[in-house]
Amino acid sequence: MRTISSDQITAAVRELCLKAAFELPEDLKGLLQRSLSTERSEAGRRVLEDILENARIAGRERLPLCQDTGLALFWVELGRDVSLTGCGLQQAVDQGVGLAYREGFLRKSVVRDPLRGENTGDNTPAFVHLEMTDGESVRIIHLPKGCGSENMSRLAMLYPSAGAEGVERLVAETVQMAGANACPPLIVGVGIGGNFETAPRLAKKALLRNAGQRNPDPYYASMESRLLEGINLLGIGPGGLGGSTTALEVFIEVHPCHMASLPVAVNLQCHAARRAFTVL
């Protein structure tokens, strides 16, 4: 049994929030760099250059990549041989988020009540997904999620008769309807199966994958490639100004589901696809 204190969790969360807000992940930079040579529109290429320049400025000046520093999402993979001391997990994560958002001058975007508003002042509560794993380590993955892309995401309860074609149509339609609002070029997370609650979680989790990391099942890997190609024919382009780079990646996660059901969730992620992880 290994003991980890809530203070260690808080410190790790603080670091993750700051890193994610200021530093564009390297694999994403690689995708953007590569799309510069394939993007057909001049306006689109200039947006891609601006995105890379923005990342350089943000890293150098310690300024957020985007003013929308998002809801603070976390996946905590807690080894079952870990004993967590101090305060509870939610409180430990919230404290880390509060510290980072205050000290890092990140925008606090959370309101206490969805209809009556009132900013909570420190971007808490954090949104924490807890998963139990083997071993005696704690892996924390952080995804700050902005709302431009979140607002354009969708959940549909399709009939099984819709099949693969219906799923692909829904994904392409979601991207088309999102247009410039979701801040393309996008990372498209797709959750297929499960139920009304699990499909969106799958879609969200898909956004954590690294560039080029295909679904291990060749059937879904080829669907990812086909969807990416189709989406990039839409012509939305970087910044929505027209072009051939509308998505950088499509990631599909699947789960068993009821025989009468075909839930599909499409979670869009903007080009400021920030994420960071650490292992304690």
Partner: protein, 188 residues
């Protein structure tokens, strides 16, 4: 590459009329930040016949909520938010003299028609370039609704802020001219 047009705010009607959908423009001068909550309050004030917290005549609104300014900086990261969330309020603001808006993404038909009726203009900025765009702000001061935090109204002094005309004073809509919807049908 087309030459970028320099435009000063507050906007005069003649300059606004000279712009065409799709044109790139660098804007300098004052712009007021306002997003969902501030729009709701301004709309209520207008309904009550009260004065909004800044003079709407000829004014330019930017749909944005910056991140807080770190010590020694004028402003934190700043960029446009989705404009369509403000569509419900926009015709009334245009009626009250608003001359231009900076935001992200398409507007409703009603807004585009109101833009044409008042010979106003809607500009689009690229989202997700907050650090880069913060360098195009010369000054920022709080004007109203401080309690709204990032949704408060600030008067910004823009300095060559890069935008593109998305709806011009004749109501021409650049984004719909891209034909994205038509291309959907051609995808295998």
């Amino acid at each position: 590459m087309e030459r970028k047009f320099h435009l000063n705010s507050p906007l005069n009607a003649e300059a606004a009329r000279s712009l065409s959908a799709g044109q790139e423009v660098l804007i300098s001068g004052p712009a007021f930040t306002a997003r969902d909550a501030a729009h709701l309050r301004i709309a209520r004030l207008l309904e009550q016949g009260a004065n909004p917290p800044f003079d709407l005549n000829g004014a330019l609104i930017i749909y944005a909520g910056a991140s807080p300014a770190p010590p020694g900086r004028i402003i934190g990261s700043i960029g446009p938010t989705t404009s369509s969330r403000m569509d419900a309020f926009t015709p009334a603001l245009l009626e009250a003299g608003l001359a231009g808006m900076i935001g992200k993404g398409p507007r409703s038909q009603a807004v585009n028609q109101a833009i044409a009726r008042h010979q106003a203009v809607y500009f689009g900025a690229v989202g997700g370039l907050g650090a880069l765009l913060s360098l195009r702000i010369k000054n920022a001061e709080l004007v109203a609704f401080e309690e709204l935090g990032p949704e408060a109204v600030y008067r910004l002094e823009l300095d060559g802020f890069p935008v593109r005309v998305l709806t011009d004073s004749r109501g021409n809509d650049f984004l719909s001219s891209l034909g994205i919807r038509d291309r959907m049908a051609q995808i295998p």
